[in-house]
């Protein structure tokens, strides 16, 4: 091999060695690493207040008499509801909380009907920029009063909400919650019913 060829090969190798690091640097700047933002972490808490409409849907009888329907009207008017909720985040999406509330509606004879739900909530919260959408399930007790009768029953409340986070502390939104309230009467099993209700409320939420 002549000196001329050795000189050319050496220059080529040198050129490659120079350009490889430069190429590598360009790769790092052209494909930056995607970073995930956690809005909430373990220990973050929130407190919200909600109020809105209460809509009685129907009563379910799982052992209807022959010839009668299992589903019947509640005979209640559309009423109002409100509640206070405290929640604590387990991580950015999962949260655990407690909720205490109340509702009212009226019977055909304008007698007031009240329910006071006390539930524990477990929810998963989706985040979309400034919006968050928790879905959750509440379970607890429901204190029902009508006329001179009072009943304490189990209660399940699956629901979904949509919040607009105004800033890091405040959020505003709406909630749609379904109430499943079984009423088991041991003394008269044929009077056992499952109450189905729906509430739509608007909320103000404070994060701290």
């Amino acid at each position: 091999m002549t000196d001329k060829y050795r000189l050319l090969i050496s220059a080529f190798i040198l050129l490659i060695l120079i350009t490889i690091p430069a190429y590598s640097q360009e790769s790092e700047t052209e494909e930056p690493e995607i970073q995930k933002i956690d809005y909430y972490t373990l220990g973050d808490q929130s407190f919200s207040i909600s109020a809105g409409l209460f809509m009685p849907l129907f009563f379910m009888d799982f052992t209807p008499a022959s010839g009668t329907s299992a589903v019947s009207l509640t005979n209640l008017t559309v009423g109002g509801t409100g509640y206070l909720t405290y929640e604590a985040y387990l991580n950015n999406n999962l949260k655990l909380g407690m909720e205490v509330g109340g509702m009212f509606a009226y019977s055909p004879n304008t007698n007031p009907f009240f329910m006071i739900p006390i539930t524990a909530k477990f929810g998963y919260e989706f985040h979309f920029g400034q919006f968050s959408m928790p879905i959750y399930l509440g379970a607890g007790i429901n204190i029902i009063t009508y006329d001179d009768a009072t009943n304490v029953q189990l209660l399940f409340k699956p629901g979904i909400s949509l919040y607009w986070n105004y800033n890091s502390n405040w959020g505003f939104g709406g909630n749609l919650v379904y109430w499943i309230s079984p009423e088991i009467i041991f003394a008269a099993p044929d009077e056992t019913r499952v109450g189905n209700f729906l509430d739509f409320t608007i909320s103000a939420q404070y994060h701290f």
Binding site: N75, F113, D147, L154, A187
Partner: protein, 489 residues
């Protein structure tokens, strides 16, 4: 942490198990129906001594004039015309009351009792003001005159009660006690009607001073008359006194069976609870008493406070003017009271209720020696009070009201129950129509179903039934769209 969660769930479970009501609230709402508000009577109106004038004498083809329903509301007497049509609305009005002849009643005057004998209305009235206690008995005559002529014209005469004034009343008896005396007595009248007679129970109370608020019953006298209009401010005129001191209670424990029977607890000084006679032959009287504790019963918030330690006594007589009424020995009970008595004319049975919540029935011969060994009762019912024969609505059935009672145990009212008298030897709770002649849904939708019943009244040719309650007003049962529904007056 796990342990705390388990404890929480167990606590919730126990709370649920022991906190459940015996009644389904959702079930009740499911069946609730809107009841009608028929008339203008206040929702809390409390009418006792319900009577009707002429409503059962109406001949539909010839008489267009209405009869009246009249009730004693305490300070006022309410009345309304009965209407044979279902569409019109009749308003209740207040009846003008006597102002007093030898004195003037004060503004706090109340009607203490009211009774209807034939077509004459009798009331006793009392007022207490700073200086005296005034009481009297008054009569309103000839409120209805039926036309007995067999023609088609309507000439039954009803007094227009709207036109009654205080001067329309006839004064029978008046008494005024001067409270300024250190110690004084006053008269309180209770009126009863049995068959064709008016009974006047004169209760004479003693007060130790003008500020004494606990009157003591000093005397209980009973007068009877078939001509009360002849009383001339003196019960001795046209009335016969039934000597109460001749009443006795047989001491069945000490009685060795030898004649005469051992008598005890003489005399009984107490208000007469009730007098009945269905046939004018046999008379029955409830007179609770016989111990040193004989204070008047009080009513608080619709619940009756019964005195304890008093014997319940039922007396029977074969004549209403008997001077000596002897005791029906089999139906004396200690430490309770009899609250009501009813004679079922069809079955010939006597039914008595007591403050233990029991209903006693006699045998079909009316003999007191055959009282039902096992009295009827209902769990959670304080006592039964108020009967009505609903044979025209439900054959062989009667209804009995419930009443709230306080005095240790507190019971709420529970409306009424139905008794079946088909088998007079075994009177039992009715199962006909599930034990309710009325539509159940409308009944449980009203306040009537948990009320204390004061009185029932049949009217309008026995097709309408009035029920008066302690705290929830007056209710009317009538036929609507083939259902017997309750509506509020």
């Amino acid at each position: 942490m796990k342990k705390r969660i388990y404890i929480l769930f167990i606590t919730l479970f126990l709370l649920l198990m022991f906190s459940c009501s015996q009644t389904g609230i959702f079930y009740r709402l499911e069946h609730e129906q809107a009841y009608q508000e028929l008339n203008n009577l206040p929702n809390a109106a409390r009418l006792s001594d319900l009577v009707s004038i002429g409503t059962n004498n109406i001949v539909a083809t010839t008489d267009a004039t209405d009869g009246y329903y009249i009730g004693n509301g305490g300070p006022n007497i309410f009345f309304r015309s009965e209407d044979n049509t279902n569409t019109s609305v009749d308003d209740w009005e207040t009846l003008a009351l006597p102002a007093g002849t030898s004195f003037s009643f004060s503004s706090d005057a109340v009607v203490s009792s009211m009774a209807l004998l034939e077509n004459d209305l009798y009331i006793s009235r009392i007022s207490r003001d700073g200086t005296s206690i005034k009481s009297g008995i008054y009569m309103l005559e000839d409120l209805f005159t039926a036309n007995v002529a067999f023609d088609t014209t309507d000439d039954d005469a009803f007094t227009d009660l709207s036109g009654i004034t205080s001067g329309s009343w006839t004064t029978l008896v008046e008494d005024e006690s001067d409270k300024l005396n250190t110690e004084f007595t006053y008269d309180y009248y209770k009126l009863h009607v049995a068959y064709d007679s008016l009974y006047i129970n004169l209760l004479r109370y003693k007060l130790s001073s003008s500020t004494d608020s606990s009157p003591e019953l000093d005397e209980s006298l009973l007068h009877v008359t078939t001509s009360p209009d002849a009383i001339d401010n003196d019960l001795g005129v046209s009335t016969t006194e039934i000597v109460m001191t001749n009443l006795f209670v047989v001491d069945t424990v000490a009685d060795d069976g030898a004649e005469p029977p051992v008598k005890t607890n003489l005399p009984i000084v107490a208000p007469i609870e009730k007098i009945i006679s269905a046939d004018g032959t046999n008379y029955w009287m409830i007179l609770n008493g016989g111990t040193s504790s004989q204070r008047e019963d009080t009513e608080i918030n619709g619940k009756i406070n019964w005195s304890t330690g008093i014997n319940a006594n039922l007396f029977g007589s074969s004549t209403d003017v008997a001077v000596n009424i002897t005791e029906a020995t089999d139906v004396t009970r200690s430490s309770i009271k009899f609250s009501d008595i009813y004679e079922h004319t069809t079955a010939g049975d006597i039914i008595v209720t007591d403050t233990n919540g029991y209903i006693y029935t006699s045998g079909d011969d009316g003999g007191v020696g055959t009282w039902g060994a096992i009295p009827l009762s209902k769990s959670g019912i304080g006592l039964f009070h108020g009967f009505e024969n609903i044979n025209t609505l439900e054959p062989n059935n009667i209804i009995v009201g419930t009443s709230a009672i306080i005095n240790g145990s507190s019971y709420s009212g529970s409306g009424y129950y139905q008794l079946d008298l088909t088998d007079t030897d075994n009177i039992a709770w009715s199962t006909v129509n599930d034990g309710n002649f009325a539509d159940t849904d409308t009944y449980i939708s009203t306040d009537l179903n948990d009320s204390s019943i004061i009185d029932f009244l049949f009217g309008a040719d026995n097709t309408e039934l009035l029920a008066s309650t302690s705290l929830n007003g007056v209710w009317l049962n009538k036929l609507k769209d083939a259902l017997r529904i309750w509506a509020r007056e």
